[in-house]
């Protein structure tokens, strides 16, 4: 027992440091051999990470936007301020007071930014203000010009919270689409994004009245602009209604307080002269029992107006920056300006700065090495959402504009953005990286386990035989046994990273929310079996469940029939050729095998041309016939040249409906089974020649004596076929038949190149599947053009299960499998 402990201890030593156990076994070369693996592992991990160097999340900001102005910039700014103050051009006592508190360690850029933010915030207090009180009528238009002054009637957020709560503010819905029919109006409400996007319509007057379909309704668009009726001081919302595509626009002015009070006019300005448009700064409009309040939130910036108010300091600063940019030696450009704006924005919204600092500094993502990061990536798929910092609300105080000073005109800096997007963690990259690192780690773990087992075994063997195997002998033995593994290793590596890794990735995303156009550059998460439940959940969102079963049934029918027609078509042709009546068998065989030799892609594309609506088949049918052309005959039967009308057409006309102008071989939306049958027929051309060739060669190799014996027994031709030819053909082609079945189940080419999925491909109503789409081509559309990766992956797992069980059964029947 005591002895065993020794071996285990050596093994444990190798667990901690591979090679250590071997040293205890006095096998130093071998120890080195194992240690090399361990060292390589550690080297990769440490050198790919930033374990020992500092990491600053702001570096990322610098990378994506530009560097911040240096501290010298701030110092120069202050010097300039002092100079201009000394000549009496500027005087900002608050700034000086601030400077006095921080200047002891020199003036830094961060301090300048903090002061700028503080100064701007002070001048723009968020509050509710009475619209009427702030109206300044200028010229023909009214506008509110909030100068930052606070009126007695204003309710300041943070100070008057109780008063605000006492008032019941009702948001005035503006700027939404309105659908209208029989005096009933519905707002369109859209919630969610991508797949979970839901559209419904809510009655303007009765929120409980919700509809989902607005067929037959007229569209009217509320622009949401506010109007003041000057004589009464009443406020109206203007909605616009397009009466027809090209013609008149109708305006409707609805009193915000009383929806029964409205005016309808075809022309906004001339008819109601007393109405003045109101341009309201950075605001949401609220209605409190007929009194209109505007909520002034400076950080909300709208198309026409910017949020924060400018201050004397901000104006001085922005002009200073403009001047600096205009100096010929300036090394700054607009990216630095944008960075400056972001930093001020961060100081105005400290919560955003905190969020940024915590989101963009993640130990695993930013500092961990290849392997640790990989494991983290697979488990979490990333944690930081991509963000877009919209700092347009700072444009009024800080955006560079053209100005004149001392008779010199300084042009404003161009290239200043409204917003800067910042890529967060990209889940798809992380998953790929995670899989690569985990798979690579598997190799190292394998070496590790090997080292541990070796330490234990050598020790055990020594205690029994008292002889250590010499290093040299061991290496020779490893080489002779390892020859196989060494030879396989390159192929194994290729398979691991180019076959297994992508398939693993494809497999895993079935369990994720990876879908939608944004998901390629953003986050997705693990959702367990949710996507699998969706193929059993009917009537919700995009109809994946309904479509899946429809497509699945068609795929199965397609696979069975296309395989059967091709197989038996080929067999029939082979029988015909092998008949005694046919001379020049080689000629016929060579001729009829042509379709197999022509690349399938080319012939599939050719068929899509030949059978197109203006294609040659139709033009032939249009021109030939027995007396009357085929087209005319079809038209007489009422299956061509008429619109599809299920009410008036007879059953036969419905099932043989061919199309309107021309025969729609592959585009017939009304008669999808016609299209599908044509597809199966066309596929015979593509597939049967292979089986024909195969079977003729099998038939010629059948032992002649079998037939002679049958002749002696007086067997008829059909008996010879049934009891000799057919069983022998089936014996050698059955595995191929199964393979052909799986091949057709996944026959992307025929479906995609001939029909491109058929009618309705890409429609959201059919979950993007067209009428002829089989699972594989549907998957392709989902992946490539619709980016519904997770559902595509669910379907491919389904295909795998079906094709896999068929193939597994097939392979288990082969000799090769049984031998090994």
């Amino acid at each position: 027992m005591e002895k065993k402990t020794k071996h285990v201890l050596k093994a444990i030593a190798s667990v901690f440091i591979p090679g250590l156990g071997q040293i205890f076994n006095k096998q130093f070369l071998k120890a080195l051999f194992f240690f090399v693996f361990f060292a390589a592992f550690l080297t990769i991990e440490l050198s790919s990470g930033q374990y020992f160097s500092e990491f600053d999340p702001y570096d990322k900001l610098t990378e994506e936007t530009g560097a911040l102005f240096t501290d010298d910039f701030a110092k120069n700014f202050y010097q300039m301020y002092q100079f201009q103050k000394s000549i009496g051009e500027i005087n900002l006592p608050e700034f000086e007071a601030y400077y006095a508190t921080v200047s002891s360690n020199g003036f830094t850029m961060r301090e300048l930014i903090d002061y700028t933010a503080q100064d701007i915030l002070l001048a723009s207090t968020p509050r509710y203000f009475l619209l009427i009180d702030d109206l300044v009528i200028s010229g023909s238009k009214a506008s509110t010009s909030d100068t930052g002054e606070i009126n007695d009637t204003d309710l300041i957020i943070g100070e008057d919270d109780a008063a605000i709560e006492a008032k019941e503010f009702l948001s005035i819905i503006t700027g939404v689409s309105i659908f209208e029919k029989n005096d009933k109006e519905y707002y369109r409400i859209i919630t969610g994004e991508g797949e979970s996007r839901l559209v419904y319509y809510v009655n303007v007057n009765e929120p409980s009245d919700i509809i989902y379909d607005v067929t037959g309704y007229n569209v009217s668009t509320r622009t949401g602009s506010l109007y003041l009726e000057q004589s009464t001081g009443k406020i109206y919302v203007r909605s616009t209604k397009q009466l027809s595509v090209l013609e008149t626009v109708e305006y409707r002015y609805t009193n915000v307080a009383d929806s029964a009070d409205y005016y309808v006019t075809a022309d906004s300005l001339s008819t109601i002269a007393t109405f003045k448009s109101l341009v309201i700064k950075g605001a949401v409009v609220y209605d409190n029992e007929g009194t209109i309040y505007v909520k002034y939130m400076p950080e909300l910036s709208y198309q026409m107006v910017n949020g924060y108010n400018k201050t004397p300091f901000s104006e001085y600063l922005r002009n200073y920056i403009t001047k600096r940019f205009r100096v010929s030696t300036s090394s700054y450009n607009s990216t630095n300006y944008n960075r400056f704006l972001i930093e001020v924005y961060f100081s105005v919204h400290p919560e955003l700065r905190n969020e940024f600092e915590s989101n963009f500094y993640n130990f695993f993502n930013d500092r961990a090495g290849f392997f640790v990061k990989g494991v983290w990536a697979i488990i979490t798929l990333g944690t930081t959402e991509k963000v877009t910092y919209n700092y347009k609300s700072l444009h009024d105080p800080l955006k560079s504009v053209t100005f004149t000073e001392d008779g010199i005109q300084y042009a404003g800096v161009s290239g200043i953005l409204d917003e800067t997007p910042l890529l967060g963690h990209v889940s798809s990259y992380l998953l790929i990286l995670g899989l690569i690192s985990t798979l690579l780690m598997a190799y190292f773990i394998f070496a590790w386990i090997w080292a541990v087992r070796d330490a234990y075994r050598t020790s055990l063997k020594y205690s029994q035989t008292k002889v250590y195997v010499s290093d040299k002998e061991w290496f020779l033995e490893v080489y002779s046994h390892g020859f196989e593994y060494i030879m396989i290793l390159p192929a194994l590596f290729v398979i691991t990273f180019i076959s297994i890794m992508p398939i693993l990735f494809g497999f895993l995303i079935a369990f994720s929310s990876y879908s939608g156009f944004d998901s390629d550059t953003g986050l997705f998460s693990w959702v367990g079996f949710y996507n699998f439940t969706r193929i059993f959940t009917f009537g919700e969102g995009i109809p994946f469940a309904e479509t899946f079963w429809k497509v699945f049934v068609w795929t199965a029918i397609w696979a069975v029939f296309s395989t059967a027609t091709v197989f038996f078509g080929g067999m029939f042709q082979a029988l015909v050729i092998s008949s005694d009546r046919v001379p020049f068998k080689k000629f016929w065989r060579t001729l009829l095998i042509l379709p197999w030799a022509v690349p399938a892609l080319i012939s599939q594309m050719a068929f899509s041309i030949i059978f197109s609506e203006k294609g040659i088949i139709n033009s032939i049918l249009k021109n030939i016939g027995f007396g009357r052309t085929f087209y005319e005959v079809f038209q007489d039967w009422g299956i061509l040249g008429v619109g599809y009308n299920p009410q008036t057409m007879t059953f036969l006309q419905k099932i043989f409906y061919l199309g309107f102008d021309d025969i729609q071989w592959f585009t017939n939306a009304n008669n999808i089974w016609f299209v599908r049958i044509i597809l199966i027929v066309v596929n015979i051309w593509l597939g049967a020649p292979y089986f024909m060739a195969l079977m003729t060669s099998i038939m010629t190799s059948i032992d002649r004596t079998l037939y002679e014996a049958a002749d002696i027994d007086g067997a008829s031709k059909s008996q010879k076929f049934r009891f000799i030819t057919f069983p022998l053909i089936m014996y050698s082609t059955a595995p191929l038949l199964v393979m052909a079945f799986s091949g057709n189940f996944n026959n992307f080419g025929v479906i995609y190149f001939i029909t491109q999925g058929g009618t309705g491909a890409g429609d959201i109503d059919t979950a993007f599947a067209g009428s002829t789409d089989i699972l594989i081509s549907w998957m392709y559309t989902l992946t490539v053009s619709k980016k519904v990766y997770n559902m595509a992956s669910v379907f491919s797992i389904f295909i795998f299960l079906i094709v896999g069980s068929v193939a597994a059964w097939n392979y288990s029947q082969t000799k090769a499998f049984k031998e090994d």
Binding site: V576, A597, I609, G615, P735, L736, A816, E819
Partner: protein, 354 residues
């Protein structure tokens, strides 16, 4: 009118072959070579007369020809040749149409089987107006690289799997089978992301990695199947003579596996010509900082380029498509026709014997 002409020609051909077949059978009965008789029978009327009048080498019993020219037999012959002629027509129609289209002068869909006037400019236009040559070059480079690398990666592994018993062999072989059953699209997104991470999108040569990687599993089985047929005694006697495993591999196995390696090589070479999905998804990508469809189409391979000629409404040109398709298809078709026996039976052998 046209339909009657077609039916007339059809019937004439059927009768002609029936005629030839009858002659052949009569010649056979009279002890001559059947094919020789059938060839004579290709000469209308004369052939049949010759068949009846030629001197028999064998003793003929009375009514010997009844089984050849009985009513039922003649009807069967007509049906047989009717079927064969029809099948030949169906087979040739699209091919002829494609060839004919490539010589048609129209910007529309050609709607005659063969053009009234031969027009050869589609071929010159193909090179002048499209990037056909660039696509051809892209595809050719991919094909050569994937052939070379594919064979290098596969040979050793295939040999080991065929010849040795080792731990994990069965699991490995089963694993490979499982991998192959997954639909090929499953890895598509991963490959896209992978290419994106490494900046390989839109780089044709990078596709080689995927063709090589994707083919390894299938080819291991193929080579294993072939090598299993070579008797193991060869290795064993070499082993007794003191040859090492690598010596056996290079001196004995490698020369013997030249046929299967060339099969693999041809397969590897062919694949990129007709693959659409991978190049469409990974090469038809507008790279950052580059503007214009011109640059994107430079990254395509032939399959993507050809399909764009019939699917993209802006660049549709059916006649140029036909010309391009023929340039690609003719060499491949000839190759397939020459090696059909080998290819078809090779696949059968692979499937049944492993």
């Amino acid at each position: 009118m046209m339909l009657y002409t077609i039916i007339g020609i059809f019937l004439a051909i059927v009768l002609w072959f029936t005629h030839s077949s009858i002659s052949g059978q009569i010649f056979e009965k009279k002890g001559y070579n059947k094919t020789f008789g059938s060839i004579i029978g290709l000469i209308p009327v004369f052939g049949l007369i010759k068949a009846f009048t030629i001197e028999s080498k064998k003793e003929l019993h009375k009514g010997a020809f009844r089984s050849i020219i009985g009513f039922k037999e003649i009807l069967m012959k007509i049906l047989t040749f009717g079927q064969l002629t029809l099948a030949a027509g169906v087979v040739l129609f699209p091919i002829l149409y494609l060839v004919g289209s490539s010589f048609t002068n129209t910007s529309e869909l050609p709607n005659t089987l063969w053009p009234p006037v031969m027009y050869f400019q589609n071929y010159t236009k193909l090179f002048a107006e499209t990037k056909f040559l660039i696509w051809y070059k892209n595809t050719f480079i991919i094909a050569v690289l994937s052939m070379t690398l594919g064979v290098i990666f596969i040979t050793g592994a295939g040999y080991v799997f065929a010849r040795f018993k080792f731990k994990g062999k069965k699991a490995g072989l089963m694993g490979i089978l499982v991998l192959q059953v997954f639909p090929s699209f499953m890895g598509l997104v991963a490959m896209f992301t992978l290419f994106q991470v490494f900046g390989l999108l839109g780089k044709p040569t990078a596709l080689t990695i995927l063709y090589v990687g994707g083919s390894v599993p299938g080819n291991i089985w193929l080579i294993k199947g072939y090598l299993s047929q070579i008797p193991k005694d060869l290795d064993e006697s070499a082993m007794l003579d003191g040859a090492s495993k690598s010596q056996i591999f290079f001196k004995i196995i490698l020369p013997l596996s030249v046929p299967i390696l060339s099969f693999v090589a041809v397969g590897q070479f062919m694949a990129p010509w007709m693959d659409y999905m991978l190049p469409k998804y990974l090469l038809d990508v507008q790279l950052a900082g580059e503007v214009g469809t011109d640059i994107v189409s430079k990254q395509w391979t032939l399959a993507v380029g050809l399909f764009s000629m019939i699917s993209n409404p802006q660049t549709t040109s059916y006649t140029m498509f036909a010309a391009g398709a023929l340039i690609v298809a003719v060499p491949i078709t000839i190759l397939y026709m020459l090696f059909q026996r080998y290819l078809i039976e090779g696949i059968t052998a692979g499937a049944t014997k492993g």
